[in-house]
Point group: C2
Chain length 202, copies 2
């Protein structure tokens, strides 16, 4: 049985969403057409709007509707001298939610991956080099993912920072808070030991 073309096309289009397979896409399409036509129209409009209006921040490359994003406009953050390097805008959001960091960001929108043809310019490292040489940055915090590509990218940026004599740090890797040692993988536990901190008595 063939579904009518507009429904088939909707199911196909829904599958471009991450984590949506054929069954979920079918369920979504029927639910929208049966019960949520208004929500569906709002989604259609929101998609078109966001795609038309959202671009990259001129300063940190994150996704924003403005030329310069809110965080980069913040005087206090710019005066902090801290620059945190992350891979994606979602990472910025995750770090902001901790409330622990009050500096600026630089969003790579990816990581170095020579096999996929992604070189330093593709992740904006030319722009980062320019910022490092023109802005008063006291510390670069490398918060790329703890994957092979993320580590390689962090290493590359650390070299860049060293050429400009800027202190560079990597976020700590170790046992997640609330985790149990028994279920932590070897690499993480190794990092937790090598990165151990001496207990301080006041």
């Amino acid at each position: 049985m063939r579904l009518s073309p507009a429904i088939s096309e909707l199911i196909r289009a829904l599958r471009t969403l991450p984590g949506v397979g054929p069954k979920s896409a079918q369920r979504m399409a029927f639910q929208i057409l049966e019960r949520q036509r208004e929500g569906g129209l709002q989604l259609s409009q929101a998609l078109a709007d966001a795609i038309a209006r959202v671009g990259h921040c001129d300063v940190c490359r994150t996704l924003t509707e403005q030329a310069v994003c809110e965080l980069c406009q913040d005087e206090a953050r710019r005066g902090s001298g801290l620059l945190c390097i992350v891979e994606t805008p979602a990472d910025v959001l995750a770090i902001e939610q901790t409330g622990q960091y009050q500096g600026c960001y630089f969003v790579l929108m990816g990581h170095l991956s020579p096999l996929d043809g992604i070189g330093p310019e593709d992740i904006g490292l030319d722009k980062l080099a320019e910022r490092i040489s023109t802005e008063a940055i006291s510390e670069i915090i490398l918060a790329t993912n703890p994957t092979i590509e993320g580590e390689a990218t962090a290493h590359y940026i650390a070299e860049l920072a060293r050429q400009h004599d800027i202190a560079t740090s990597r976020i700590a890797h170790g046992v997640p808070v609330g985790g149990e040692l028994e279920y932590v993988d070897q690499a993480t536990l190794g990092h937790a030991f090598s990165g151990r901190k001496r207990v301080q008595f006041d």
Copy 2:
């Protein structure tokens, strides 16, 4: 940290999709804006198109772009005299995929639910009564869901069919093929016993 309004609105709109929570919606929004803008525009267009063009079949009430859907236009099916009653268009699709049934359908687009104010007219039973009295139907197959509401709806339609002297059957309930008895619930196993069939020797 506030996301830019267009991104927040997109995340909110994505949450109208079934099974999409705040985290998935955020992941979808970022993936579309970072890597799948073309796919996102296609989805926006497909949603608007489908919502504008897809309506209900005049004969069976399923979702279709045409006035009368493909299955209802099929002469062989109309001549079969079989009418299968299902709750949703997805049920039609599921039954068609078995390849076991070659008759017509009637899609209720829901089930009787007096507590939610859903009465016979809301699920098109007036239209069904009209079809029963005007068309040459030899058997009505009740394929509503085996839930309390589905059973009540099936019972109501069976009464309607009896008034017109039309044979009515309910799809079999029992142990799913490939299932293990140990894991089948009591109600299903009860149905499997009460609906047992005598083994036939040729």
